[in-house]
Protein backbone atom coordinates (compact mmCIF):
# COMPACT_ATOMS: atom_id res chain seq x y z
CA UNK A 1 0.00 0.00 0.00
CA UNK A 2 1.39 3.37 -0.91
CA UNK A 3 1.81 6.11 1.68
CA UNK A 4 -1.09 8.16 0.28
CA UNK A 5 -3.48 5.24 0.70
CA UNK A 6 -2.24 4.67 4.23
CA UNK A 7 -2.85 8.31 5.13
CA UNK A 8 -6.37 8.33 3.72
CA UNK A 9 -7.30 5.10 5.41
CA UNK A 10 -5.96 6.40 8.72
CA UNK A 11 -7.99 9.60 8.46
CA UNK A 12 -11.18 7.77 7.54
CA UNK A 13 -10.71 5.30 10.34
CA UNK A 14 -10.16 7.98 12.95
CA UNK A 15 -13.06 10.09 11.73
CA UNK A 16 -15.54 7.29 11.44
CA UNK A 17 -14.51 5.43 14.48
CA UNK A 18 -16.95 5.59 17.36
CA UNK A 19 -14.01 5.59 19.79
CA UNK A 20 -12.44 8.95 20.56
CA UNK A 21 -9.63 10.01 22.86
CA UNK A 22 -11.01 10.91 26.26
CA UNK A 23 -9.41 12.57 29.22
CA UNK A 24 -8.31 10.23 31.98
CA UNK A 25 -9.90 10.97 35.32
CA UNK A 26 -7.83 11.79 38.38
CA UNK A 27 -8.67 8.44 39.95
CA UNK A 28 -7.55 6.54 36.89
CA UNK A 29 -4.38 8.62 36.66
CA UNK A 30 -3.51 7.97 40.28
CA UNK A 31 -3.25 4.26 39.53
CA UNK A 32 -0.71 4.84 36.74
CA UNK A 33 2.83 4.42 38.04
CA UNK A 34 5.17 5.14 35.18
CA UNK A 35 8.46 3.28 35.28
CA UNK A 36 10.51 6.36 34.41
CA UNK A 37 13.91 5.28 35.64
CA UNK A 38 17.05 3.83 34.16
CA UNK A 39 19.38 1.37 35.87
CA UNK A 40 22.94 1.44 34.60
CA UNK A 41 25.97 -0.67 35.07
CA UNK A 42 29.10 0.05 33.17
CA UNK A 43 32.76 -0.35 32.66
CA UNK A 44 35.34 2.09 31.37
CA UNK A 45 38.64 0.67 30.22
CA UNK A 46 41.41 3.10 29.30
CA UNK A 47 44.20 2.06 26.98
CA UNK A 48 44.02 -1.65 27.74
CA UNK A 49 46.22 -2.28 24.71
CA UNK A 50 48.41 0.78 25.14
CA UNK A 51 48.55 3.55 22.62
CA UNK A 52 47.07 5.81 21.43
CA UNK A 53 49.77 5.40 18.73
CA UNK A 54 51.56 2.21 17.72
CA UNK A 55 55.34 2.38 18.03
CA UNK A 56 55.64 2.07 14.22
CA UNK A 57 53.38 5.06 13.45
CA UNK A 58 54.92 7.94 11.50
CA UNK A 59 55.81 10.92 13.68
CA UNK A 60 55.79 8.80 16.85
CA UNK A 61 59.47 9.37 17.48
CA UNK A 62 61.91 8.60 20.26
CA UNK A 63 61.31 11.38 22.82
CA UNK A 64 64.96 12.49 23.09
CA UNK A 65 66.28 10.99 19.82
CA UNK A 66 69.02 9.16 21.69
CA UNK A 67 69.47 5.65 23.07
CA UNK A 68 67.68 2.48 22.07
CA UNK A 69 64.10 3.67 22.58
CA UNK A 70 61.89 3.17 19.52
CA UNK A 71 59.08 5.66 19.99
CA UNK A 72 57.14 7.90 22.36
CA UNK A 73 53.99 5.78 22.44
CA UNK A 74 53.43 2.05 22.10
CA UNK A 75 51.91 -0.94 23.84
CA UNK A 76 52.26 -1.37 27.61
CA UNK A 77 54.39 -4.48 26.94
CA UNK A 78 56.77 -2.30 24.91
CA UNK A 79 56.82 0.23 27.74
CA UNK A 80 57.66 -2.50 30.25
CA UNK A 81 60.51 -3.59 27.95
CA UNK A 82 61.81 0.00 27.79
CA UNK A 83 61.16 0.34 24.04
CA UNK A 84 58.65 3.19 24.38
CA UNK A 85 58.08 5.92 26.95
CA UNK A 86 54.28 5.81 27.22
CA UNK A 87 51.24 3.59 26.84
CA UNK A 88 48.47 5.65 28.46
CA UNK A 89 45.93 8.18 27.30
CA UNK A 90 46.61 11.89 27.72
CA UNK A 91 44.27 14.82 28.19
CA UNK A 92 46.01 18.21 28.15
CA UNK A 93 44.69 21.73 28.67
CA UNK A 94 46.47 24.96 27.78
CA UNK A 95 45.38 27.41 30.48
CA UNK A 96 46.67 30.53 28.73
CA UNK A 97 48.52 31.72 25.66
CA UNK A 98 52.00 31.56 27.21
CA UNK A 99 52.48 27.95 26.03
CA UNK A 100 52.21 25.97 29.27
CA UNK A 101 50.02 22.87 29.53
CA UNK A 102 48.47 20.99 32.45
CA UNK A 103 47.67 17.36 31.68
CA UNK A 104 46.11 14.17 32.95
CA UNK A 105 48.78 11.89 31.62
CA UNK A 106 49.27 8.13 31.22
CA UNK A 107 45.61 7.35 31.98
CA UNK A 108 45.25 3.56 32.14
CA UNK A 109 43.10 0.92 33.74
CA UNK A 110 39.50 0.11 34.44
CA UNK A 111 36.62 1.74 36.33
CA UNK A 112 33.39 -0.19 36.68
CA UNK A 113 30.14 0.36 38.52
CA UNK A 114 26.92 -1.50 39.11
CA UNK A 115 23.59 0.07 39.94
CA UNK A 116 23.79 3.71 38.92
CA UNK A 117 20.16 4.79 38.61
CA UNK A 118 18.64 7.76 36.82
CA UNK A 119 15.06 8.83 37.33
CA UNK A 120 12.82 11.81 37.51
CA UNK A 121 11.45 12.37 41.00
CA UNK A 122 8.92 14.74 42.47
CA UNK A 123 9.73 16.07 45.92
CA UNK A 124 6.72 15.44 48.16
CA UNK A 125 5.79 16.56 51.64
CA UNK A 126 6.49 13.02 52.89
CA UNK A 127 10.20 13.19 51.94
CA UNK A 128 12.58 14.05 54.76
CA UNK A 129 14.76 17.07 54.11
CA UNK A 130 14.50 18.32 57.68
CA UNK A 131 11.49 20.54 56.89
CA UNK A 132 12.72 21.93 53.53
CA UNK A 133 10.44 19.46 51.72
CA UNK A 134 7.34 21.48 52.62
CA UNK A 135 8.36 24.52 50.55
CA UNK A 136 9.88 22.34 47.81
CA UNK A 137 6.92 19.96 47.47
CA UNK A 138 5.96 19.51 43.83
CA UNK A 139 9.44 20.34 42.54
CA UNK A 140 10.70 17.84 39.99
CA UNK A 141 14.35 16.82 40.22
CA UNK A 142 16.65 14.48 38.35
CA UNK A 143 17.73 11.83 40.84
CA UNK A 144 21.05 10.11 40.21
CA UNK A 145 21.28 7.12 42.53
CA UNK A 146 24.88 6.40 43.45
CA UNK A 147 26.14 2.95 42.56
CA UNK A 148 26.78 0.92 45.69
CA UNK A 149 30.33 0.26 44.58
CA UNK A 150 32.80 1.89 42.26
CA UNK A 151 35.50 -0.63 41.34
CA UNK A 152 39.00 0.34 40.23
CA UNK A 153 41.35 -2.12 38.58
CA UNK A 154 44.91 -0.89 38.04
CA UNK A 155 43.46 2.54 37.42
CA UNK A 156 46.25 5.10 37.28
CA UNK A 157 47.07 8.54 35.98
CA UNK A 158 49.63 11.29 36.56
CA UNK A 159 49.01 15.02 36.91
CA UNK A 160 51.74 16.69 34.90
CA UNK A 161 52.72 20.12 33.68
CA UNK A 162 54.49 20.41 30.34
CA UNK A 163 55.75 23.02 27.91
CA UNK A 164 54.01 21.52 24.86
CA UNK A 165 50.72 19.76 24.27
CA UNK A 166 52.07 16.58 22.70
CA UNK A 167 54.98 14.51 23.97
CA UNK A 168 56.09 14.06 20.35
CA UNK A 169 56.62 17.84 19.94
CA UNK A 170 60.18 19.13 19.60
CA UNK A 171 61.86 20.14 22.90
CA UNK A 172 59.03 18.54 24.89
CA UNK A 173 59.63 18.76 28.62
CA UNK A 174 57.33 17.82 31.50
CA UNK A 175 57.19 17.61 35.27
CA UNK A 176 55.04 15.07 37.06
CA UNK A 177 53.28 16.56 40.07
CA UNK A 178 51.73 13.40 41.47
CA UNK A 179 49.77 10.40 40.31
CA UNK A 180 47.31 7.84 41.57
CA UNK A 181 47.23 4.07 41.26
CA UNK A 182 43.94 2.62 42.53
CA UNK A 183 42.92 -0.99 43.01
CA UNK A 184 39.78 -2.06 44.79
CA UNK A 185 36.33 -0.75 45.50
CA UNK A 186 34.91 2.46 46.93
CA UNK A 187 31.58 2.24 48.80
CA UNK A 188 28.94 4.82 47.94
CA UNK A 189 25.47 5.56 49.27
CA UNK A 190 22.79 8.10 48.51
CA UNK A 191 21.41 10.18 45.67
CA UNK A 192 22.52 13.25 43.82
CA UNK A 193 19.55 15.51 43.09
CA UNK A 194 19.91 17.88 40.14
CA UNK A 195 17.47 20.71 39.46
CA UNK A 196 17.39 24.15 37.86
CA UNK A 197 17.96 27.12 40.09
CA UNK A 198 17.73 30.88 39.66
CA UNK A 199 20.55 33.25 38.99
CA UNK A 200 21.67 34.69 42.35
Amino acid sequence: MSFKYLVSTFCILTSVSSFSLEQIGDEELSSVSGQNGVYLSGELDFNADGGPLASSDIGNTDPDDTGAMLATWGSCAEKAAGDVARCGARMAVELNDSSGWVAYDEIKGKISFEGLTLRSREITATDDFGGDEIAAAGMTVLEIGMPEKLEFENFSYDITTSNHGRPTDTDYSQQTRYGIDFNGSVQLEGNLLVFPTGNP
Binding site: N163, S173, Q175, G190, N199
Partner: protein
Protein backbone atom coordinates in the same frame (compact mmCIF):
# COMPACT_ATOMS: atom_id res chain seq x y z
CA UNK B 1 10.26 10.62 7.64
CA UNK B 2 9.88 14.14 9.00
CA UNK B 3 7.25 14.82 6.36
CA UNK B 4 5.36 11.71 7.35
CA UNK B 5 5.20 12.85 10.97
CA UNK B 6 4.14 16.37 10.06
CA UNK B 7 1.42 15.04 7.76
CA UNK B 8 0.12 12.72 10.44
CA UNK B 9 0.12 15.48 13.06
CA UNK B 10 -1.74 17.82 10.74
CA UNK B 11 -4.30 15.11 10.03
CA UNK B 12 -4.89 14.42 13.68
CA UNK B 13 -5.56 18.11 14.25
CA UNK B 14 -7.91 18.22 11.27
CA UNK B 15 -9.73 15.12 12.45
CA UNK B 16 -10.72 17.25 15.44
CA UNK B 17 -9.80 14.86 18.18
CA UNK B 18 -7.63 17.04 20.34
CA UNK B 19 -9.15 18.93 23.26
CA UNK B 20 -5.90 20.42 24.58
CA UNK B 21 -5.12 24.09 24.13
CA UNK B 22 -2.27 26.35 25.06
CA UNK B 23 -3.09 28.45 28.10
CA UNK B 24 -1.39 31.58 29.36
CA UNK B 25 0.85 31.16 32.38
CA UNK B 26 -0.37 33.18 35.33
CA UNK B 27 1.82 35.78 37.00
CA UNK B 28 2.32 33.56 40.04
CA UNK B 29 3.36 30.60 37.88
CA UNK B 30 5.77 32.77 35.92
CA UNK B 31 7.34 34.18 39.06
CA UNK B 32 8.48 30.66 40.00
CA UNK B 33 10.39 30.22 36.74
CA UNK B 34 13.91 31.54 36.97
CA UNK B 35 15.98 28.54 35.94
CA UNK B 36 19.43 29.47 34.72
CA UNK B 37 21.88 27.54 36.83
CA UNK B 38 22.01 24.02 38.16
CA UNK B 39 21.34 23.15 41.79
CA UNK B 40 22.81 20.02 43.35
CA UNK B 41 21.86 18.31 46.60
CA UNK B 42 23.53 15.12 47.78
CA UNK B 43 20.84 13.25 49.70
CA UNK B 44 21.56 10.59 52.31
CA UNK B 45 25.15 10.52 51.08
CA UNK B 46 28.23 8.64 52.18
CA UNK B 47 31.50 7.64 50.51
CA UNK B 48 34.09 5.36 52.03
CA UNK B 49 37.37 4.23 50.54
CA UNK B 50 39.22 1.79 52.78
CA UNK B 51 42.37 -0.17 52.04
CA UNK B 52 42.78 -3.82 52.91
CA UNK B 53 45.35 -3.08 55.65
CA UNK B 54 42.85 -0.79 57.38
CA UNK B 55 40.03 -3.33 57.29
CA UNK B 56 38.64 -2.74 53.79
CA UNK B 57 37.90 -5.39 51.16
CA UNK B 58 40.60 -7.81 50.08
CA UNK B 59 42.76 -6.29 47.36
CA UNK B 60 41.87 -2.68 48.12
CA UNK B 61 44.99 -0.55 47.67
CA UNK B 62 44.88 3.16 46.84
CA UNK B 63 48.28 4.66 46.08
CA UNK B 64 49.39 8.21 45.44
CA UNK B 65 52.57 8.15 43.38
CA UNK B 66 55.22 10.58 42.19
CA UNK B 67 56.47 11.72 45.62
CA UNK B 68 60.17 11.41 46.47
CA UNK B 69 62.12 11.86 49.71
CA UNK B 70 65.20 14.07 50.18
CA UNK B 71 67.46 11.31 48.85
CA UNK B 72 65.32 11.16 45.66
CA UNK B 73 63.89 7.75 46.53
CA UNK B 74 60.22 6.99 45.96
CA UNK B 75 57.85 7.53 48.86
CA UNK B 76 54.71 5.47 48.50
CA UNK B 77 51.72 7.24 49.94
CA UNK B 78 48.71 5.00 50.50
CA UNK B 79 45.23 6.20 51.33
CA UNK B 80 44.38 3.86 54.22
CA UNK B 81 40.93 5.36 54.48
CA UNK B 82 39.05 8.30 53.07
CA UNK B 83 35.49 8.89 54.21
CA UNK B 84 32.83 11.56 53.91
CA UNK B 85 29.70 10.76 55.91
CA UNK B 86 27.18 12.10 58.38
CA UNK B 87 28.35 13.38 61.74
CA UNK B 88 29.00 11.05 64.67
CA UNK B 89 31.29 8.60 62.87
CA UNK B 90 33.79 8.52 65.75
CA UNK B 91 36.79 9.33 63.53
CA UNK B 92 35.54 7.16 60.66
CA UNK B 93 35.21 3.97 62.72
CA UNK B 94 31.41 3.94 62.92
CA UNK B 95 30.03 4.67 59.46
CA UNK B 96 26.96 2.41 59.35
CA UNK B 97 23.85 4.52 58.84
CA UNK B 98 25.79 7.80 59.19
CA UNK B 99 24.75 9.63 56.05
CA UNK B 100 24.57 13.33 55.27
CA UNK B 101 22.83 15.77 52.98
CA UNK B 102 25.18 18.20 51.23
CA UNK B 103 23.25 21.29 50.26
CA UNK B 104 19.62 22.08 51.02
CA UNK B 105 16.71 22.15 48.57
CA UNK B 106 16.28 25.81 49.50
CA UNK B 107 20.04 26.53 49.33
CA UNK B 108 21.82 23.96 47.17
CA UNK B 109 25.32 23.63 45.76
CA UNK B 110 25.15 25.58 42.50
CA UNK B 111 26.88 25.62 39.13
CA UNK B 112 26.01 28.78 37.30
CA UNK B 113 27.11 31.03 34.47
CA UNK B 114 26.98 34.57 35.84
CA UNK B 115 26.75 37.85 33.95
CA UNK B 116 30.01 39.66 34.62
CA UNK B 117 28.36 43.05 34.14
CA UNK B 118 26.37 42.61 37.35
CA UNK B 119 29.25 41.37 39.52
CA UNK B 120 32.26 42.78 41.34
CA UNK B 121 31.77 46.48 40.59
CA UNK B 122 32.61 46.23 36.89
CA UNK B 123 35.69 44.07 37.39
CA UNK B 124 34.33 41.39 35.09
CA UNK B 125 32.80 43.77 32.55
CA UNK B 126 31.61 41.94 29.44
CA UNK B 127 32.78 38.55 30.75
CA UNK B 128 30.85 35.40 31.46
CA UNK B 129 31.84 33.98 34.82
CA UNK B 130 31.51 30.28 35.62
CA UNK B 131 30.69 30.00 39.30
CA UNK B 132 30.64 26.88 41.43
CA UNK B 133 29.30 27.65 44.87
CA UNK B 134 28.52 25.79 48.07
CA UNK B 135 25.34 26.77 49.95
CA UNK B 136 25.40 30.49 50.67
CA UNK B 137 25.51 32.00 54.13
CA UNK B 138 22.18 33.31 55.40
CA UNK B 139 20.79 35.95 57.76
CA UNK B 140 21.56 35.40 61.44
CA UNK B 141 17.91 34.76 62.32
CA UNK B 142 17.71 31.79 59.93
CA UNK B 143 21.29 30.57 60.34
CA UNK B 144 23.20 28.23 62.59
CA UNK B 145 26.52 28.69 64.38
CA UNK B 146 29.09 27.69 61.75
CA UNK B 147 31.28 25.63 64.07
CA UNK B 148 29.49 24.62 67.29
CA UNK B 149 27.24 21.69 66.36
CA UNK B 150 25.20 21.98 69.57
CA UNK B 151 23.64 25.32 68.62
CA UNK B 152 20.15 25.82 67.19
CA UNK B 153 18.64 28.25 64.72
CA UNK B 154 19.41 31.97 65.15
CA UNK B 155 22.99 31.47 66.35
CA UNK B 156 25.08 32.10 63.21
CA UNK B 157 25.15 32.57 59.46
CA UNK B 158 25.61 29.01 58.20
CA UNK B 159 22.75 27.45 56.27
CA UNK B 160 23.91 23.84 56.75
CA UNK B 161 22.33 22.39 59.88
CA UNK B 162 24.02 20.16 62.45
CA UNK B 163 22.72 16.66 63.09
CA UNK B 164 19.42 16.78 65.01
CA UNK B 165 19.33 20.60 64.93
CA UNK B 166 16.73 21.97 67.36
CA UNK B 167 15.78 18.34 68.09
CA UNK B 168 14.27 17.83 64.60
CA UNK B 169 15.68 14.29 64.34
CA UNK B 170 17.10 15.05 60.86
CA UNK B 171 20.60 13.98 59.81
CA UNK B 172 21.52 17.54 58.87
CA UNK B 173 23.93 18.95 56.30
CA UNK B 174 27.22 18.80 58.22
CA UNK B 175 29.70 16.09 57.38
CA UNK B 176 32.43 14.07 59.03
CA UNK B 177 35.42 13.66 56.76
CA UNK B 178 38.81 12.13 57.19
CA UNK B 179 41.97 10.80 55.62
CA UNK B 180 44.20 8.11 57.06
CA UNK B 181 47.44 8.15 55.14
CA UNK B 182 50.34 5.70 55.33
CA UNK B 183 53.66 6.85 53.95
CA UNK B 184 56.13 4.07 53.30
CA UNK B 185 59.80 4.68 52.48
CA UNK B 186 62.46 2.47 50.96
CA UNK B 187 63.85 2.37 54.51
CA UNK B 188 60.92 0.76 56.41
CA UNK B 189 62.03 2.22 59.73
CA UNK B 190 60.83 5.62 58.52
CA UNK B 191 57.28 4.46 57.70
CA UNK B 192 54.64 6.65 59.25
CA UNK B 193 50.87 6.95 59.57
CA UNK B 194 49.18 10.36 59.66
CA UNK B 195 45.49 10.97 60.12
CA UNK B 196 43.27 13.97 59.67
CA UNK B 197 39.62 14.08 60.69
CA UNK B 198 37.02 16.85 60.56
CA UNK B 199 33.89 16.50 62.64
CA UNK B 200 30.54 18.13 61.82
CA UNK B 201 32.02 20.31 59.09
CA UNK B 202 30.54 22.50 56.38
CA UNK B 203 31.78 24.79 53.62
CA UNK B 204 28.96 27.34 53.47
CA UNK B 205 29.73 30.54 51.61
CA UNK B 206 32.54 29.02 49.52
CA UNK B 207 32.69 29.72 45.81
CA UNK B 208 35.04 29.33 42.90
CA UNK B 209 34.78 31.67 39.90
CA UNK B 210 36.48 31.21 36.55
CA UNK B 211 36.63 33.54 33.58
CA UNK B 212 38.81 34.21 30.60
CA UNK B 213 40.80 37.37 30.08
CA UNK B 214 42.49 38.68 27.00
CA UNK B 215 45.61 40.80 26.59
CA UNK B 216 43.59 44.03 26.89
CA UNK B 217 42.94 43.23 30.57
CA UNK B 218 46.65 43.82 31.22
CA UNK B 219 47.33 40.65 33.22
CA UNK B 220 50.63 38.85 32.70
CA UNK B 221 50.39 35.23 33.82
CA UNK B 222 54.03 34.34 33.16
CA UNK B 223 55.56 37.29 35.00
CA UNK B 224 57.07 39.04 31.97
CA UNK B 225 56.12 42.52 30.79
CA UNK B 226 53.56 41.57 28.14
CA UNK B 227 49.92 40.85 28.99
CA UNK B 228 48.52 37.39 28.27
CA UNK B 229 45.12 35.91 27.68
CA UNK B 230 44.14 32.95 29.79
CA UNK B 231 42.11 31.47 32.60
CA UNK B 232 41.56 33.65 35.67
CA UNK B 233 40.23 32.48 39.00
CA UNK B 234 38.86 33.89 42.21
CA UNK B 235 37.80 31.81 45.18
CA UNK B 236 36.45 32.03 48.66
CA UNK B 237 37.15 28.78 50.48
CA UNK B 238 35.39 28.44 53.81
CA UNK B 239 35.82 25.40 56.00
CA UNK B 240 34.14 25.22 59.39
CA UNK B 241 34.25 22.27 61.75
CA UNK B 242 33.13 21.49 65.27
CA UNK B 243 36.55 19.85 65.70
CA UNK B 244 39.60 18.89 63.66
CA UNK B 245 41.70 15.98 64.90
CA UNK B 246 45.27 15.16 63.83
CA UNK B 247 46.95 12.02 65.10
CA UNK B 248 49.21 9.14 64.20
CA UNK B 249 48.43 5.47 64.75
CA UNK B 250 49.89 2.09 63.85
CA UNK B 251 50.16 1.45 60.10
CA UNK B 252 47.30 -1.06 60.24
CA UNK B 253 44.90 1.66 61.36
CA UNK B 254 44.36 -0.02 64.73
CA UNK B 255 43.38 1.98 67.78
CA UNK B 256 47.00 2.03 69.00
CA UNK B 257 47.35 5.76 68.45
CA UNK B 258 49.60 8.43 69.89
CA UNK B 259 48.40 11.62 71.46
CA UNK B 260 46.18 13.79 69.34
CA UNK B 261 46.11 17.44 68.44
CA UNK B 262 42.60 18.86 68.35
CA UNK B 263 41.33 22.15 66.94
CA UNK B 264 37.94 22.78 68.49
CA UNK B 265 35.53 25.19 66.78
CA UNK B 266 37.75 25.56 63.75
CA UNK B 267 36.92 28.27 61.23
CA UNK B 268 38.89 29.00 58.06
CA UNK B 269 37.84 31.63 55.52
CA UNK B 270 40.43 31.80 52.73
CA UNK B 271 40.07 34.60 50.20
CA UNK B 272 42.07 33.72 47.11
CA UNK B 273 42.35 36.28 44.35
CA UNK B 274 40.01 39.15 43.67
CA UNK B 275 38.73 40.38 40.34
CA UNK B 276 37.48 43.65 41.78
CA UNK B 277 40.97 44.73 42.88
CA UNK B 278 42.79 43.42 39.74
CA UNK B 279 44.17 40.42 41.64
CA UNK B 280 42.98 37.23 39.93
CA UNK B 281 44.68 33.91 40.63
CA UNK B 282 46.51 32.70 37.52
CA UNK B 283 48.19 29.40 36.74
CA UNK B 284 51.00 29.16 34.24
CA UNK B 285 53.47 26.49 33.13
CA UNK B 286 56.98 27.62 32.23
CA UNK B 287 59.03 26.55 29.19
CA UNK B 288 60.59 23.72 31.20
CA UNK B 289 57.22 22.49 32.40
CA UNK B 290 57.37 23.99 35.90
CA UNK B 291 54.27 25.26 37.63
CA UNK B 292 53.90 28.99 38.20
CA UNK B 293 50.96 30.13 40.36
CA UNK B 294 50.30 33.79 41.11
CA UNK B 295 47.84 36.03 42.85
CA UNK B 296 48.44 39.12 40.77
CA UNK B 297 49.97 42.10 42.55
CA UNK B 298 47.74 44.87 43.85
CA UNK B 299 48.19 47.81 41.42
CA UNK B 300 50.75 50.35 42.67
CA UNK B 301 49.88 54.07 42.73
CA UNK B 302 50.09 55.46 39.20
CA UNK B 303 48.89 52.21 37.60
CA UNK B 304 46.72 53.00 34.57
CA UNK B 305 43.96 50.63 35.75
CA UNK B 306 43.28 52.66 38.91
CA UNK B 307 40.51 55.28 39.03
CA UNK B 308 41.41 58.94 39.43
CA UNK B 309 43.26 61.60 37.44
CA UNK B 310 46.91 61.52 38.55
CA UNK B 311 46.30 58.13 40.27
CA UNK B 312 49.08 59.00 42.73
CA UNK B 313 49.32 58.72 46.50
CA UNK B 314 51.36 61.32 48.45
CA UNK B 315 54.55 60.35 50.28
CA UNK B 316 52.80 60.81 53.64
CA UNK B 317 49.94 58.56 52.49
CA UNK B 318 47.33 61.15 53.46
CA UNK B 319 44.37 62.09 51.31
CA UNK B 320 45.42 65.77 51.20
CA UNK B 321 48.54 65.05 49.16
CA UNK B 322 46.97 62.29 47.04
CA UNK B 323 44.51 61.93 44.20
CA UNK B 324 41.32 61.74 46.29
CA UNK B 325 39.64 59.17 44.00
CA UNK B 326 42.67 56.89 44.00
CA UNK B 327 43.01 57.29 47.77
CA UNK B 328 39.36 56.27 48.18
CA UNK B 329 39.99 53.17 46.04
CA UNK B 330 42.85 52.02 48.31
CA UNK B 331 40.74 52.86 51.36
CA UNK B 332 37.99 50.64 49.99
CA UNK B 333 40.50 47.83 49.35
CA UNK B 334 41.75 47.84 52.94
CA UNK B 335 38.23 48.26 54.35
CA UNK B 336 36.21 45.89 52.16
CA UNK B 337 38.72 43.86 50.15
CA UNK B 338 38.73 40.08 50.57
CA UNK B 339 40.32 39.01 53.84
CA UNK B 340 41.51 35.66 55.09
CA UNK B 341 40.51 34.66 58.62
CA UNK B 342 41.47 31.53 60.51
CA UNK B 343 40.39 30.94 64.08
CA UNK B 344 40.50 28.04 66.50
CA UNK B 345 38.30 28.19 69.60
CA UNK B 346 40.51 25.86 71.60
CA UNK B 347 43.72 24.01 70.75
CA UNK B 348 44.07 20.73 72.63
CA UNK B 349 46.99 18.32 72.82
CA UNK B 350 47.12 15.01 74.61
CA UNK B 351 45.56 11.57 74.82
CA UNK B 352 42.08 11.23 73.33
CA UNK B 353 39.48 11.99 75.99
CA UNK B 354 41.80 13.79 78.43
CA UNK B 355 43.73 16.36 76.40
CA UNK B 356 45.35 19.52 77.74
CA UNK B 357 43.83 22.79 76.61
CA UNK B 358 46.04 25.48 75.07
CA UNK B 359 43.38 28.13 74.56
CA UNK B 360 42.37 29.89 71.37
CA UNK B 361 44.34 31.12 68.38
CA UNK B 362 43.39 33.24 65.43
CA UNK B 363 44.59 35.10 62.36
CA UNK B 364 42.19 37.84 61.35
CA UNK B 365 41.97 40.18 58.37
CA UNK B 366 44.97 38.95 56.36
CA UNK B 367 45.09 40.45 52.87
CA UNK B 368 47.31 39.08 50.14
CA UNK B 369 48.90 41.89 48.11
CA UNK B 370 50.93 39.50 45.96
CA UNK B 371 51.68 35.79 45.87
CA UNK B 372 53.96 33.90 43.53
CA UNK B 373 54.74 30.20 43.76
CA UNK B 374 57.13 28.53 41.30
CA UNK B 375 58.04 24.84 41.39
CA UNK B 376 61.66 23.79 40.88
CA UNK B 377 63.41 20.50 40.32
CA UNK B 378 65.11 19.08 43.42
Amino acid sequence: MLRLFSTLSLMLLQCGLSHAELADLTESELSDVSGEGIGLVYENYQINMQSEVMGGETGNDFKITGIKDTSAQDVTVRIGQFYLAGSGTDLGTNLAGKTVNLGRLSNPITIDLLDGNTLGGGAYADKSVLAIAMPTQVAFAQGYDCTDSSQGVGTGTCSSRPNNADGNGFRGERFDMGYKINRTFVDNAKDVNLNFHAQSANMDGSFWRFWGSDASDGVSVDGNASADSGLMMEAQINFYADKLVFNSCDLDGSTACGEQVGFEEFSMELAIGSAKYFQPLTIDVSDSGFLHVQIQALPSPGDARLPGTTKLIGADGLVGTSDAVTHAWYDDYYENGPKTNISIGNVTVGPAGVPESFGSASIQGMQIQYLEVISHEL
